[in-house]
Subunit: 236 residues, 2 copies
DNA sequence: ATAAGTAGATAGTAATACTATCTACTATCC
DNA sequence: GGATAGTAGATAGTATTACTATCTACTTAT
């Protein structure tokens, strides 16, 4: 297919596709002339993945490129491979990495993070950037005086473990190594989006239930058709 | 205190504080002269909250302002209040809201989202923007061909419900209405950061365990001191 | 042959989040 | 009481990100 079709089928504008080509997010099509190239289904799939990572996963273009680069690397043992995919995906997700490592408060939080993981008995490589991220979160919780949330960490950890035990085997069984990589990437990024969105919805549900509403079939969850009426918290 | 102390104690540069003042994220200090103002502990707390929401929660300045504005509004019933706090926090978290509502594929995903929530028996207001976000996620999962993750949605929902049942009462019991608001905001944003970080760590742990490593006390999780040695996935 | 489409290059743009500087003061220390 | 440092408020400048637009020299379809 040519670029116009790729654009139409992926819902991405031609200039944007060209931008992704320039940035190395999308491999070039097979050239069939000085100014003509042919794209295939793999390009379409890659483009849809890019859009999913960017729009749903919230990854930057640079982070997306890193993640995609991992998908193109030669493959090794399953765990190593999963580790690799994870490393690629964790860094962007764990974000900016700005905290000054020299701040004693941060170093203390970083140690606290290590202690928590040890006490959970989790086998995690000490270089995992998520540990730094955990330190950031702990430090912020201290500063905002929500130590009760820190006390609830084991609960969160148990929940996270349940999730991982359900997600990791799914990814491992995805088939050939390339499919495993893809499953790790999409599962990690999109699974997070799914979970956090459902958590937000569950919050409203639980709050409504505690407030005394019957938890059964309420006014429904139809998409807004015409005038959506007004309810408890107006603001839309 | 004066702005220099506020800057030192919050770890935020004076120009940035002035910027937040201009942007209305931080209320002005009490003026004691034509070019002199006095700030107090409340300003410090607010500034720390801003930093937590921005750096750990990943909220934009505009989103942060919306969230903080909610904290300053007059207070109503607990559920309404929680709804309000949530609305303020959900929109930013559920992000860009870009998807074209006219796309039939999106409308279909949006209906699917509604059906899921109905089948879960969750009482959620049909205007909750998280429902649109759920549609985005479902659509992306379809496009990336991870319908297996969609099939696992009830599992995610159950996990989300467990979380909410633990978090919402905690926030409700925070004390006076202002404290409840603050607890909802910090709990929603920082709780998400905590959970997703732990999920990432749990992924590595489970992957390592499945790969045959003993899950007990491994090489530990000490902060990187000096040379952190090299392990399974190198890349740092 | 003419119109439409294309690759590749380069330049422009809108938004975001600061950062810097300037002016006219005020506080403070010796 | 004068020098020095700090401050509010205003305005302007900057770096980055993620596109978007345009241009040229083609190729392809009608």
């Amino acid at each position: 297919m040519r670029i116009a079709e790729l654009s139409r089928r992926s819902g991405t504008s031609i200039p944007t596709i060209k931008y992704y080509l320039r940035e190395g997010l999308l491999p070039p099509g097979t050239s069939t002339g000085r100014n003509q190239a042919e794209y295939d289904e793999r390009h379409l799939g890659r483009l849809r993945l890019i859009r999913a990572l960017r729009e749903v996963g919230g990854l930057s273009v640079a982070a997306t490129r890193q993640v995609l680069a991992t998908l193109d690397e030669p493959v090794r043992s399953t765990h190593e491979l999963m580790g690799h995919a994870h490393q690629a995906v964790i860094r962007p997700l764990t974000g900016s990495r700005s905290s000054d490592t020299d701040d004693p408060a941060w170093r203390s939080a970083r140690q606290e993070a290590g202690r928590w993981i040890t006490s959970l008995g989790w086998r995690v490589h000490p270089d995992n950037p998520a540990l730094d991220r955990l330190a950031d979160v702990l430090l912020a919780l201290h500063r905002v005086e929500r130590t009760d949330l820190i006390a609830g960490l084991p609960q969160y950890a148990a929940t996270a473990l349940t999730l991982a035990e359900q997600e990791v085997p799914t990814a491992r069984d995805a088939g050939d190594p390339a499919a495993v990589m893809a499953a790790v990437v999409t599962g990690t990024v999109l699974g997070e989006a799914l979970l956090t969105t459902l958590r937000l919805l569950a919050h409203e549900h639980v709050s409504a239930t505690l407030a005394g509403y019957t938890p059964a079939q309420g006014p429904g969850c139809e998409p807004p058709a015409g005038d959506p009426g007004e309810g408890t918290p107006p603001r839309r």
